[in-house]
Subunit: 358 residues, 2 copies
């Protein structure tokens, strides 16, 4: 078990050794640690190796000049200059918030970025400003549109954070596929089959083999099959891709660059790097913020008090499970699996940073 502070400091040191400024190293580290706290370790410490290897391969820029390349009072296109995704994304969301302060809302489409970790982190940045936050990103193509066997889309998540008064905020953060990619990896490692409805084989037949992606299979969009609305999941994923990449001139769909160094750079590009989309809406651009937050409390209480089906858990508000995780992990400490701690130790030795395997 590690404390939050220990791992934050460690991660910061790693990124500083990779050439990041202290400010950028902290920015990135906070997102990695937020993933650990919120119970999404697939986007936490395990990913430091990916970034280290991308840096070794000179596929990221740890001294980026992140800048606005086009703007209006409520919009901007940001060029991330091949930054660590968490750095480009944090800066982009800051710009969305700055825009919203003046124009009521701010909308930023970002290109030339990389994998940015958990989408919810950036959406939640809006909360302390009494704003609604929205984040989307495209991602490595693993998902086939309805009727297809071609992997054209990522798991393309959407996150929306809405402040309340006495209730904790509403924080939805979800991929546009039935399950996240990480859950397939876990099933594969355990040698387990998956439920039907998550993946298909290279011919488009339903599969329960979590390793099928290695043999031409693909993930399905939310809904699973056409009869159950997979075309709606496809629509959502497509919207995320267009807002993140076509608006910003990043690579869209099948052209999104790999977020790991062991996969080669793609031959064809349709833009620069990975794309994200950020939104911030000032609550008081619509109504008095304090009144809105009272209404949001009532919304949350209405849903929290919904009747559960017999034998089912209580109805949850988006953000509840992650917040409960965070409360527990802050108390108990962060568990880094031995295999991951070993990898981190190796990286820390190479970079000359202290790391204690416990």
């Amino acid at each position: 078990m590690y404390t939050y502070d220990y791992l934050l400091d460690f991660t910061k040191s790693i990124f500083i050794k990779m050439g990041c400024s202290k400010e950028h190293a902290l920015m990135a580290s906070k997102v990695f640690l937020a993933a650990e706290l919120r119970g999404l370790p697939s986007h936490g410490m395990i990913r430091i190796k990916d970034y280290f290897q991308l840096w070794e391969a000179d596929r990221i820029n740890t001294r980026p000049d992140i800048k606005i390349v086009h703007q209006t009072s409520s919009t901007a296109v940001v060029d991330g200059d091949r930054a660590i995704g968490m750095v480009a994304a944090t800066r982009s969301m800051e710009i969305a918030i700055e825009k919203a302060e003046k124009a009521g809302t701010g909308w930023v489409s970002t290109r030339n970025s990389n994998h940015f970790g958990i989408a919810g982190y950036y959406a939640m940045m809006a909360l302390e400003h009494d704003m609604i936050g929205l984040t989307m990103t495209n991602a490595n193509p693993l998902v086939a549109p309805t009727f297809s066997v071609s992997r054209l889309l990522g798991t393309n998540p959407v996150a929306v954070a809405v402040p309340a008064k006495t209730q904790p905020p509403f924080v939805a953060d979800f991929s546009t596929t039935p399950i996240a990619r990480g859950k397939l990896a876990v099933a594969e490692k355990k040698g387990e089959k998956t439920l039907p409805g998550y993946v298909q084989d290279s011919k488009g037949d339903s599969s329960v083999d979590p390793s099928i992606l290695k043999r031409g299979g693909s993930m399905l969009t939310l809904g699973g099959d056409y009869e159950h609305g997979s075309h709606k999941g496809y629509c959502m994923s497509a919207i995320v891709d267009i807002f993140s990449a076509v608006l910003s001139n990043a690579n869209f769909g099948p052209f999104v660059p790999p977020s790991v160094a062991y996969l080669p750079v793609l031959e064809e590009k349709t833009g620069e790097g990975t794309g994200h989309f950020f939104g911030a809406m000032r609550i008081d651009a619509f109504q008095e913020a304090s009144e809105f937050k009272i209404k949001m409390d009532k919304w949350i209480e209405t849903f929290r008090n919904a009747k559960s089906a017999p034998g089912k858990p209580a109805v949850m508000i988006p953000g509840d499970p992650e917040r409960k995780c965070e409360e527990r992990i802050i108390k108990e400490g962060i568990n880094v699996l031995p295999a991951i701690a070993k990898e981190l130790k190796k990286i820390s030795d190479q970079l000359g940073v202290d790391f204690e395997v416990n």
Copy 2:
């Protein structure tokens, strides 16, 4: 079969007789007819009776004073003054577009409105302005959040329209449930069972009975069950509800007023009427519009050229099916089912409007 012009004129006359201005009557009629053309008759001529009966019951206002009650350069809250939903929605989307012309984007949350027909119509209004359009609305509570048996959400649709250059526009228009409510009604009329994954009974057990909503059942969110991501459909539906109703002070979730006069007005209110949300983003607030549209062509072509699974149709671009319908129906004419034509005849006799049952 009827021509578009005949039914547009007829519908206009009906609304004028109900007290609408010529301008508002045309606004509303265009949306009813767009639903017929786009192959969504469940939101077309069949709904005129609902509006007629709401008018008889004095539950809509055909002479509304639709106004902005709060605004910034990129936002507005619109009070629909109990207008026909199509009128409040068209005016709200116009305001979003006007805002976007100046601020880059425009975002309007509308209260005190009614059922507005097909969401895609308003999103598509943005296209001729070289803007991306977005529409959401809450709706009568028929849908239970994950784990629950309480009907707290509507089928809460989302529509997004994006212009292209030589390709037809991308127009996604989808409910946040596996199927639309209308498909249950059709199955019920035909005496057919539904597939599993659409509805549950009053205890939360899976059901294939399309009439189960009459006996305490509920619709499921997109994803169907928790294992297949129904909580993600719940998140989307919740976001639609919050943006449409909490931001505008309309009724949220279970408090959305019935869109038919045979259901009583609810006792408890949390705001005014039904709520919608509209967005318009000027393409050139992000990049040169002509370049964007070339890139959108490439996006569309990439997806259109995806490999289909054996035996499956070609991959579709959101908006393809509705556009094909429209092309066919413009040529062949609009088919109004005899039972509906009979209802329309009765209404037209009451109001003193000519209507030919053919």
